[in-house]
């Protein structure tokens, strides 16, 4: 865990880069709780406001002349920095497959459709320990949304989303303003993407399908054991048991699969489609995570800048809208919980 700042220090509520205007206007920040320098951790009080114990942050810091640790979240982020994408991805639905002819060659493609994809939240290194963008897809009937979630969306000025997912980004440059809608032209035609999603469920699958066992003879006296797994292991010598992890029939599929380095063949904002070459996991209708490829060069910088500019141009009032939503949320909260905060 990254070293936690004590509650004495009033943490800034919003990320400064995107909300320069917001911080200028007086918004009631979270109440600044001033505690004594030595927070008592007395169990007999029943509860404490001091942060939980994090021994690792207090001792063996690099400033003491000790080398920085190679384990831990900070080290992991540094280790994966080069392969973490620069910018966020989107949530898309698998609609089906077609083909595209490039010159004389036929390239089978999957059609992925973006539906009401919006940036819902940002995760920062200070607060959450990593950089990420939370993206939402689709919509949900508010009557089917819990009160905490309704409040969550109320404060952001967004209608309740059917699905949410986080996309890790390399640094704060990859964060986006809350509320912006992502369209297919976020991707550059010709760039590579990784597609992540749950594979098709195969139900209870036998050994041959699940593990590629060869089965047994079709004839020559074999009785009723053509597709069985045969022997499950050694006998008395190995403990008169079956080893744990022995490959056997069982439920197969409906698990996360990532297909890397698929090329974006075409992009259509009106239809909301992104055509990627090759197959992707899951049946038609599956929600997939689509992001710039980790193992290929990212899209060119001019395109990245143009894409962000296009997002902002389409919703020039996104900052005001967010501010209005936050103020409205505080008002509604006072009405809902008049006794809280007194």
């Amino acid at each position: 865990m990254p070293p936690r700042l004590p509650l004495r220090v009033a943490l800034p509520r919003f990320h400064a880069r995107h909300n320069a205007a917001a911080t200028a206007i007086a918004i009631p920040a979270r109440p600044c709780i001033l505690l004594s320098h030595t927070p008592s951790r007395a169990v007999h009080n029943g509860w404490v406001t001091a942060p939980p114990r994090s021994k690792h942050a207090r001792f063996n810091q690099p400033t003491a002349g000790v080398p920085a640790p190679t384990t831990g979240p900070a080290a992991a982020l540094k280790r994966r920095e080069r392969t973490t994408p620069l910018r966020t991805g989107v949530l898309a639905t698998k609609k089906g497959m077609t083909a595209v002819y490039v010159g004389k060659n036929r390239i089978p493609c999957t059609v992925l459709q973006l539906d009401q994809v919006q940036v819902v939240a940002n995760k920062t290194r200070e607060k959450n320990g990593y950089w990420a963008v939370q993206v939402g897809r689709g919509s949900k009937d508010p009557r089917n949304v819990t009160a905490p979630q309704l409040g969550y969306y109320e404060a952001k000025g967004i209608a309740p989303k059917a699905e949410l997912a986080e996309f890790m980004v390399r640094d704060e440059e990859g964060l986006l303003p809350v509320g912006l809608q992502l369209l297919p032209d976020w991707f550059q035609v010709g760039q590579y993407v990784d597609v992540k999603g749950n594979s098709r469920g195969m139900g209870f699958a036998g050994g041959m399908k699940r593990h590629g066992f060869k089965g047994q003879e079709a004839s020559h006296g074999n009785s009723k054991n053509h597709r069985t797994i045969g022997s499950v292991g050694p006998s008395q010598g190995s403990g008169s048991r079956v080893f744990p992890g022995k490959k056997m029939p069982g439920r197969m599929g409906n698990e996360s699969v990532t297909v890397q380095n698929l090329k974006v063949m075409a992009v259509d904002n009106e239809l909301g489609t992104v055509l990627v070459s090759g197959p992707v996991p899951g049946p038609k209708g599956r929600t997939l995570k689509l992001q710039d490829s980790k193992k290929r060069k990212p899209p060119t910088q001019p395109h990245r800048e143009k894409a962000v500019q296009a997002l902002v141009e389409r919703q020039p009032d996104h900052e005001e809208h967010l501010l209005a939503a936050r103020l409205a949320h505080l008002e509604m909260k006072k009405q809902r919980q008049p006794d809280v905060g007194l």
Binding site: V100, Y101, E154, G272
Partner: protein
């Protein structure tokens, strides 16, 4: 309440008190004044009313426009875009369209000329319709060996498709896999191709002569 026990005389005070207490409790539940009519019964169940009440305490922002309303299924449009690119005149589509009477039908003999390689002629066994991937299966002979070949009609490598011979009577099924049996196998169609070429050449030369005479 047992009617008999109510009217049963009892000399015990305790029983008498118990009886009166019980009667008073019953009387409390008797209603003499008519209750006010319940408000028009809501069409919503209790759980639904709870959901509506919960939502009413929050501000629900409007949705951004959804592609589910405008283009719920983008595949037909994408297919049409691809076909328009590959077959701008629409000739290839017309040749296999069900709506045109002069289209190629299963059982006719077709000749496919690819960009590179020799033309292949054979009986049209199947038409697999799949948008831009629509394909035809021809059964012909390559060096006296019966061969079946699939061709994608919109492929840029397929230079030309010609109808060599039309079946006089409509085939009574859409997939003529019975042609694989020796009894029904049409065999070599080179004679039909030859006849077609002769007629075509004659027509072409006739047109050329007409043009030349017209020019003079």
């Amino acid at each position: 309440m047992n009617v008999a026990s109510v009217s049963r005389p009892s000399g015990c005070l305790k029983a008498a008190l118990r009886r009166t207490r019980y009667q008073r409790a019953c009387q409390r539940s008797f209603v003499t004044t008519p209750r006010a009519q319940a408000a028009t019964p809501s069409p919503f169940s209790g759980r639904q009313r709870d959901d509506i009440a919960r939502v009413s305490h929050f501000k629900v922002w409007p949705q951004v426009p959804s592609v589910r309303k405008t283009h719920p299924n983008p595949l037909p449009q994408l297919q049409a875009q691809q076909i328009a690119k590959l077959d701008p005149t629409g000739a290839r589509t017309r040749m296999f369209s069900k709506l045109h009477l002069d289209s190629a039908k299963v059982g006719d003999v077709l000749m496919v000329t690819p960009n590179t390689g020799e033309p292949f002629a054979g009986v049209l066994m199947q038409i697999r319709r799949a948008g831009v991937d629509t394909a035809i299966q021809l059964r012909g002979q390559l060096m006296r060996t019966s061969t079946e070949m699939w061709y994608k009609i919109y492929s840029p490598t397929v230079s030309a498709i010609d109808i060599i011979w039309r079946r006089p009577k409509r085939a009574r099924r859409s997939r003529l896999t019975y042609l694989r049996q020796p009894k029904h196998d049409m065999g070599n169609v080179d004679n039909l191709v030859f006849a077609w070429r002769k007629e075509r050449f004659a027509l072409r030369s006739k047109e050329k002569n007409k043009a030349m005479r017209g020019g003079r």
